[in-house]
Symmetry: C2
Subunit: 369 residues, 2 copies
C-alpha cells in the first residue's frame, strides 16, 4: 500500500485523473469519454521477487501517457493506465484479483474471503458479482519475458501470441517397498523405475511435438518417493505432471497420449498407478489485431521482433474475456524471474516502452471509439 | 538388558555354562575343552522391529543344545550358544559390536565411544584391541530370510552361499532450474529427466546380469530434487546408488559400466554430474563345508533346500574372519522384516531348528577337534 501511494502520486504528477475502482485497481486516466485504450500491469510482487515483473509494464504505460501529454499528442480514445490488484499468488489463494474483477471472474466464495482486503485498498466487493468492465477498446501489457526465447533468437521485442492453458495431474505409481538387499531384480516392483519411465516418456513425447505446431511444454517438476531410503526398493512415487499449451486440443491430446502409454509401460512392470486432475486453465489467444500493431510498432522503430507464446499466466487471461488483449515481452537476463537477481537491461526496457507507446498510437488510429 | 537376564536364565535352566565375554556377548557352553562349535545370533532388535530377526536363531541354537543334553547326545566338540551384542544399527553408529569384537574389528575410535556401554553389559573394552577369539571350529546361524526367494522357490530351507558386499555412491545430476512455463523443451537442461535415464539404466543393466552369475542387485532408493516445485524445471537431483553382490569383481565391473554409460547419456542431454563413493563393504563367502552340511541335514530331514545369497548383513561377516561360517535361512511372511508384522510360521521355525541341530551333529562328526 505504501508502493501504491507513491504510484498514485506519480500518476497525478503525470497529469492523470486517478481513482481506485471497485476491484481495488489503481487507474490513471488521460482524456474524456468513450471506449478507453488500457495499458498497465501490476505493482505487487512475490516475496523475494524482482523489480521488473509487473512494475516494468506499469511504469512503461505511465511513461507513454506522460509522454503523450508532454508532447501534446491528443488521442482519439481515453487512455487508462491500470495497476491491477494482486496479480501474484497471495495468502488468499486467489491470484489476478483485480483483472478477475473486470471480467466478473471472482466466485462468491472467493469474494466472501476477499471482501475485507479489497475494501482495505479502496475497492467495493459488493459490486464484483458481475463484470466490472465491458467497454474497453484494447488492453496492452508490457512484461519481462521470464524466459530465454528472445535471447536465443536475438530479438529485442516479443509479440505474444497467446497465454498458455495449464493442466496439472497428480500421478501416483504404486509398486511394493522391499528390502534392497534381499529382493532379486526379477521379484521387484520398483515404483521409482516406473516413475523414471514416465518422466522420460513425458520429456520425449513433448520434444517430439512438432516445432511448427502450437506451443507445448510438459514437465514433471515435483516428485515424492516412499520410503526414500538408501536400502529400500521404492514402494510408491507421487509426481505432478504439468502440461502447458496455447491450444486446448493439443493439451488434451498430449494428456490422453501420455496417460494411455503410461498404462502400457507401468503394467508391463507389474506396477499400478492412479492419476487425478488437480487444476486446469484454458489457453487465451492474444488479439490478432494487437499482435499486428505491436509488430508494426517494432518494425517502425527498427527493432527485431518475434512472435512467441507466454508460458506464464498474466492478468491478460481475464482481461481478454471482456476486451481485445495483447502483450509485449522484453528480454530479461537468463530468463530469471521471481528472484532478487531478476534483471532487464535499461535499453531493453526503453525499447519496450517505446513499442508500447507506438502500439497505443496505432491502435488509437485504427480502433473504433 | 531385561531380555538378556531372561535369556541367561534360560541358558542356565538348559544346563549351559553361562558367561559374558569381554565383547559383551552372552555365551552358554555345553561340554569341555577343545575347538568349539558355535551357533547363535543376536537378541537385540530395531525400534518397532519384529520378533524373529535374531531371536529365532538364538532360540533355535538353545533348543539344539538343550535337546542334545536331554537326549544324552555327547558331542566331540564343546558347543557354544552365543548372543552377539548389538548386531543392529544403534545410537553409537556401530553395528555387529559383539561379532566385531571376536574378529578384532572394532577401531580404537569406536572402542573409545563404546567402552562404557560394553562395560555396562559386563564386557571389558580394554581387551578388544585384538581379536577376542580365534580357535572356533565352525559358526552356524539360523535366521529368517528377510526376502521372498524361498517362498518363490517353494523351499523350506535356505543354504546361504555368501553375504553380499555393499557399495553406495551419491550421484548428483546437475542441470538448470527454469520456469516450466516459459522454457521450451529444446532449451531445457532438466536434471530429473537425466536422473530418470540413470534410474532406468541401473535397473535394466542389473536385470541383464546373467541369472546364473553371482548375485547382483542395484537400487536407487533415495532421491532428492531441487527445487521440486510443480512449475519449475528440476535443476539438480541427488540420488544414492546402492550395489550389492556376492562377488567383488561383479560389484566393481557393474559400477564401472553404469558410471561410464552415465557419462554418455547425461552429456547428450547437456547435463553435468558428479559421483562419490559413500561406503563399501566386501562380500563374505560362507564355508563350502558348512553349506554342504546344511544341505545334507535338510535332505536327511526331507526338506526342500535352495542355495541363495544373503542380501542383508549379519554377524557372520565378522565371524567369518576367524572361523568357517555358515547360515541357514527360513521363510518369513512376504519377506517382511524390521516391522511389527514380521512373521515366520512355527512349522518353518521348527524345520530350521531341526536342520540347525542336524548340521551341528554333522559338523561335530566331520570337523577336527
Amino acid at each position: 500500500m505504501r508502493g501504491r501511494a507513491w504510484l498514485r502520486k506519480e500518476f497525478e504528477t503525470a497529469g492523470l485523473n486517478t481513482s481506485i475502482d471497485a476491484g481495488g485497481n489503481l487507474i490513471g486516466r488521460l482524456g474524456g469519454n468513450g471506449l478507453p485504450l488500457v495499458a498497465g500491469s501490476h505493482s505487487d510482487t512475490v516475496p523475494s521477487g524482482g523489480r521488473f515483473d509487473g512494475m516494468l509494464g506499469l511504469l512503461a504505460a505511465l511513461e507513454a501517457a506522460q509522454s503523450f501529454r508532454e508532447q501534446g499528442v491528443v488521442l482519439r480514445h481515453p487512455l487508462e493506465v491500470v495497476d491491477f490488484l494482486a496479480e501474484e499468488p497471495n495468502d488468499f489463494g486467489v491470484s489476478c484479483i483485480g483483472s478477475r474483477s473486470w471480467a466478473g471472474a471472482l466466485a462468491p466464495s472467493d469474494l466472501a474471503i476477499l471482501a475485507p482486503a479489497i475494501e482495505l485498498v479502496g475497492g467495493d466487493a459488493s459490486r464484483l458479482h458481475e463484470p466490472l468492465r465491458s467497454a474497453v477498446a484494447a488492453y496492452v501489457e508490457l512484461h519481462i519475458e521470464q524466459g530465454v526465447v528472445l535471447a536465443q533468437k536475438q530479438a529485442e521485442i516479443g509479440v505474444v501470441t497467446a497465454i498458455v492453458g495449464i493442466r496439472r495431474h497428480e500421478v501416483a505409481v504404486l509398486g511394493r517397498a522391499d528390502h534392497a538387499g534381499t529382493t532379486p531384480m526379477d521379484l521387484r516392483r520398483d515404483a521409482l523405475v516406473g516413475a523414471a519411465d514416465f518422466i522420460r516418456n513425458v520429456d520425449r513425447m513433448a520434444r517430439q511435438h512438432p516445432a511448427e505446431g502450437p506451443y507445448l511444454v510438459a514437465t514433471v517438476g515435483k516428485i515424492t518417493v516412499e520410503p526414500n531410503a538408501v536400502n529400500a526398493v521404492p514402494g510408491s512415487v507421487r509426481m505432478i505432471l504439468e502440461l502447458r499449451s496455447t491450444d486446448e486440443s493439443v493439451l488434451l491430446a498430449f494428456e490422453q497420449a501420455i496417460l494411455t502409454r503410461c498404462e502400457t509401460f507401468l503394467k508391463a512392470r507389474g506396477l499400478d498407478w492412479t492419476h487425478s486432475l488437480l487444476s486446469q486453465t484454458k489457453p487465451t489467444a492474444c488479439s490478432w489485431h494487437i499482435q499486428g500493431a505491436i509488430e508494426e510498432a517494432a518494425r517502425t522503430a527498427g527493432y527485431n521482433s518475434v512472435r512467441l507464446p507466454s508460458g506464464a499466466g498474466h492478468d491478460g487471461v481475464f482481461v481478454a474475456r471482456i476486451a481485445p488483449m495483447g502483450m509485449i515481452f522484453v528480454p530479461c537476463r537468463d530468463g530469471r524471474s521471481h528472484t532478487p537477481e531478476e534483471w532487464a537491461e535499461p535499453a531493453d526496457c526503453a525499447r519496450g516502452a517505446q513499442v508500447l507507446a507506438e502500439t497505443l498510437l496505432i491502435l488509437d488510429r485504427e480502433l473504433a471509439q
